[in-house]
């Protein structure tokens, strides 16, 4: 090995603590990059392969009922490659020992479970025979959550008739990767299952011989989805078509897309933060190393080493540190990616998961990390090249200190000499001090901006479940009915209040923009249902016209006062124009509202009750749920409490893991920045600190100079970090928002406090580790040598 390389290795070993601290930051950059991009690509590839293998359709539409022969007609639409009809039927289940409402959606499949589109993948058992009554395949998540296996029997209330179903197989399908019950926000596999039943058997059970109520189709390459949807709506209108939609609006696919979008945002926001910090760390550490090795550099040049050779020597130093970081990051990223992917599989159901990080991701991560190290080394390399042998071998100019602005303030405030030492050293090295402040601030900002997701989610829950909803139960009905249903429900003992709501499918158009929505309504004297905007104000339903959520208004490019074209997809299917009276800023979904009279005028079917909101006596809950299960008109019951609990559980599961990661990441930055700053300050001031010890200062007092300087810089970083976090959090919340959710940016004081405490604790512990060196200062040796 060349002598210069030996020097490199020994230098690295000598500053191993600092090198490791930088490597940790580089590692965090690499790890987040590998993790988020790895998971993103794995998830996307898995989804694409799954969609292709199982022939996930491109366009879908529901309808009340149509003859099976309609499929052939639909296949003649230009651009449609293949269409397939099926029956989709919601049902409730009666599982012994379970009080709560458990729902299922039953899909018809061909003989043995075969279909052309949205194919079922069996993971156990076999497919149902087409005409075998009661044979079903159930989805894997539901089976796992409720402990069902092939051979088990489940009692169901299908289309008003009690049937005993036999589980013959367990499977999954691409149209239910993310399966949420109607009206719910998140999957609850213990209360909502996906079933598949033979076509003939389901026809018989639902009295739909040779009829279908759902159609899926694939499109030819290059076909216009919008045009197919338009023609499809026309064909299906007489059959009660509820409006066709493409993959983008397919509930399961939309959630998967949403998740992928969020991962993509993470990939482009988080790693750069670490890369910036590691660049700066390399800059200051290499800068310090070079300034302490001036004489050696001069000597090497005097011996005849070229500028290039010496520059390369120090560049290798930076590269070696980043190489260590890359290795750490690769391993951590792959490990965390696996953990994260496992989390996804709890909510997104795939029959297989390609968790594979391609070599290109590792390579890109390494290139980015090495690139940032090289960038950070550039300042040092320039210094090295600029040194002439003669200058390099003369001692450096003593640092010139000045009394600055802060000083004059300090003088009045009665700064001690120690105070002056701290402030002037900071002022003497403004770039390095700035980097310390900036690095700690970024760490705080990163932690805060990820922690605020928890607040945003809580705010969303608060708004949705507490402020806007006052019911205990939501009872969905098989079809919209009239007030009689309400009387029946009100007569159940323990029911305290019953209100009607309805949601009617419609397509809203403004020029070429069109959105399929459900127009939701409630009676004018509602006490259980309210629309609360993002600022917490209750917005009453307009007496006439529509109220649109801000997201929907934006998508349609409509403002309050404009008129919107409405194609009703329910009731008498009228087409009309109606004013948009107001918009409301909401978090969940793209929604439209009207008061019950307005909606009745639009549907004209004299069926104002689509579902009922119930307020109940908690003591009577079980009896009420039993009673509801027996009512043929009831499609399902949602309990607000259970949904909320499930949501909280999901947050706890996911967020806690994520928060753990981000605390670790933020700490990595703080450790990297504070450790290196403190070590540099220590090495620059070792002589001064030893002098103070000689002059009679105790270790603690001398340690305070070091700690005080770090503390001052960290204290400056706190407000900067809060501002950084505020800006970063706001843009992350905006970037995470999609058609499904608009994540509010609603950080609480607790989140500021928590982030600050984490950063301060990490900084304090790190600084203390360095401060311990004060105790080991060798007064004699330091004072003997000339600096």
């Amino acid at each position: 090995m060349k002598a210069l390389d030996l020097k490199l290795l020994r230098d690295l070993w000598r500053i191993r603590g600092q090198a490791l601290a930088i490597a940790l930051v580089v590692g965090a950059a690499t790890a987040t990059f590998v993790m988020s991009l790895g998971v993103y690509r794995s998830l996307m590839e898995t989804r694409d392969i799954y969609y292709e293998r199982n022939h996930f359709a491109d366009v879908f539409s529901g309808m009340t009922r149509a003859p099976r022969s309609i499929v052939g007609r639909i296949e003649t639409i230009e651009g449609v490659r293949h269409a397939e009809g099926r029956i989709i039927q919601y049902a409730t289940l009666d599982i012994p020992g379970r009080v709560e409402s458990i729902r299922t959606v039953i899909n018809s499949v061909g003989e043995g479970g075969e279909t052309d589109l949205n194919r079922l993948t069996l993971v156990a058992g076999r497919g149902p025979r087409s005409s075998a009554a009661g044979e079903i395949v159930i989805d894997e998540a539901f089976a796992d959550a409720n402990g069902f296996a092939p051979g088990d029997e489940i009692d169901a209330l299908i289309y008003g008739t009690r049937e005993r179903l036999t589980v013959v197989g367990i499977g999954l399908a691409p149209d239910y990767i993310y399966a949420i019950a109607p009206g719910e926000l998140i999957p609850d596999e213990s209360r909502f299952g996906i079933f598949w039943m033979g076509e003939r058997a389901l026809e018989a059970a639902t009295n739909r011989t040779e009829a279908i109520n759902f159609i899926s189709m694939t499109l030819e390459r290059g076909a216009s989805e919008a045009e197919v949807i338009r023609r499809l709506d026309v064909i299906l209108a007489p059959f009660g078509g509820t409006g066709a939609y493409g993959r983008d609006d397919h509930p399961s696919n939309a959630f998967v897309d949403n998740e992928l979008m969020q991962l993509d945002v993470m990939t482009t926001t988080i790693p750069p933060v670490f890369l910036i910090v590691s660049t700066f760390l390399v800059y200051i550490v290499l800068g310090r190393l070079i300034s302490t090795e001036r004489e050696q550099i001069g000597l090497l040049k005097a011996f005849g080493y070229t500028d290039g050779a010496i520059a390369w020597h120090y560049l290798k130093f930076a590269l070696a540190i980043s190489a260590l970081g890359i290795l750490i990051g690769w391993a951590a990223g792959a490990w965390m990616g696996r953990g994260m992917t496992a989390l996804y599989t709890e909510y997104y159901r795939f029959p297989f998961l390609y968790y594979r990080i391609s070599p290109s991701i590792f390579a890109i991560a390494a290139l980015l990390a090495a690139g940032s190290a090289v960038l950070g080394a550039m300042g040092g390399v320039r210094t090295v090249i600029g040194l002439t042998p003669a200058i390099a071998m003369a001692p450096p100019q003593p640092p010139i200190y000045k009394t600055g602005f802060l000083e004059r303030v300090g003088q009045k405030a009665g700064f001690t000499s120690i105070g002056h030492m701290i402030v002037r050293h900071i002022g003497r090295w403004p770039v390095r001090s700035g980097i310390t402040v900036f690095g700690v601030a970024l760490s705080l900002g990163l932690l805060f901006s990820t922690m605020q997701f928890l607040d945003g989610t809580n705010e969303m829950l608060e708004a949705n479940f507490f402020r806007a909803q006052n019911q205990d139960l939501t009872v969905a009905l098989i079809e919209a009915g009239n007030e009689e249903v309400l009387h029946n429900l009100a007569s159940i003992p323990g029911v305290l209040r019953v209100e009607a709501t309805r949601a009617a499918s419609a397509r809203l158009r403004n020029g070429h923009r069109s959105e399929r929505v459900a127009i939701e309504s409630a009676s004018s004297n509602t006490r259980l249902w309210s629309r609360i905007d993002a600022s917490g104000r209750e917005i009453p339903l307009p007496p006439a016209g529509l109220m649109l959520s801000g997201q929907l208004a934006a998508k349609l490019d409509i403002r309050a006062g404009d008129r919107v074209e409405v194609d009703m997809l329910e009731g008498r299917r009228i087409r009309t124009q109606i004013p948009v009276v107001t918009t409301i800023s909401e978090y969940i979904g793209s929604r439209a509202y009207a008061d019950s009279v307005t909606l009745e005028r639009l549907t004209r079917d004299n069926s104002p009750v689509g579902s009922a909101l119930l307020r109940i006596d908690p003591a009577a809950r079980e009896d009420i749920l039993d009673e509801l299960r027996e009512m043929p008109i009831v499609l399902g019951v949602t309990e607000r409490r259970a949904t909320l609990d499930k949501f909280r559980e999901m947050i706890d599961d996911n967020m806690i893991t994520m928060i753990g990661f981000y605390i670790a990441f933020a700490s990595a930055i703080v450790i990297g920045v504070v450790y290196n700053s403190a070590r540099i300050i220590f090495s620059e001031r070792a002589r001064e600190l030893a002098t103070l010890r000689v002059l009679g200062y105790h270790k603690q007092e001398v340690g305070l100079i070091l700690l005080g300087q770090i503390a001052l810089l960290v204290a400056l970083a706190v407000p900067v970090g809060c501002l950084t976090g505020y800006a970063l959090g706001q843009s992350l919340a905006a970037a995470f928002s999609s058609d499904l959710f608009r994540l509010p940016f609603a950080p609480t004081r607790g989140t500021y406090g928590f982030s600050i405490v984490v950063v301060l604790v990490a900084a304090a512990l790190t600084a203390l580790i360095v401060a311990r060196r004060v105790a080991r200062l060798d007064m004699v040796r330091v004072l003997k040598a000339r600096d």
Binding site: S417, T691, Y697, H698, V780, D787
Partner: protein, 246 residues
Amino acid sequence: MAETTTNRDRSTAQPAFRATGLRKTYDMGETQVHALRGVDLEIGAGEVLVLLGPSGSGKSTLLNIVGALDRPTAGQLWYEDTELTALNDHALTRFRRAHVGFIFQFYNLIPSLTAEENVRLVTDIATDPMPAAEALELVGLGDRRAHFPAQLSGGEQQRVAVARAIAKRPHVLFCDEPTGALDSKTGIKVLETLANANAELGATLIIITHNAGIAGMADRVFNFLDGRIASIEVNETRIAPSEISW
């Protein structure tokens, strides 16, 4: 004035320091370096002592131990009635803080503090210090107090160091090659300030030097060789720093 008592009186007066069997051994891995091989001494209060000897003869090691910067491997050391060798680190620091002033070859000023602030570093923690400005006046730098070390000459810097050392009214002043980095004219100026401190504050003065000429201003001269005090010379009369031949 100092000249009213004889040198012999001073060295046998109530001793400030007493040491018996001081040894210091450094472990250098496989070998051991014996820096002190058994030193017994008494240093009188107010005495001016010069330690002479070649590099590595043990004079700095002794100064570090007597100055409470380092501990002996064996032996005992008293300052008045206090056994320094029995004190813990904290108590040694307190001892330095209360009684000791140091002056170094390379001044060891804090570059980020002005001359006056460097002196205040000591007066801030001393029990009965003189004002920092007064200390600077004593070394003739009253008009340079707002200057940073980088703005002062070497001699001026060393005088600031002297001011810093005497400002606490120390009982003993340790000087390790105080003129080693200075030319003769500046060196004499610094030595004059030290002699004044001895005369006016009654501080015991212990000076390490390579410069045998300085020995003339001492009451006694310890000649070091090989970790031991090889010989002690007693000067019947002390010469003034200005008379020292450089």
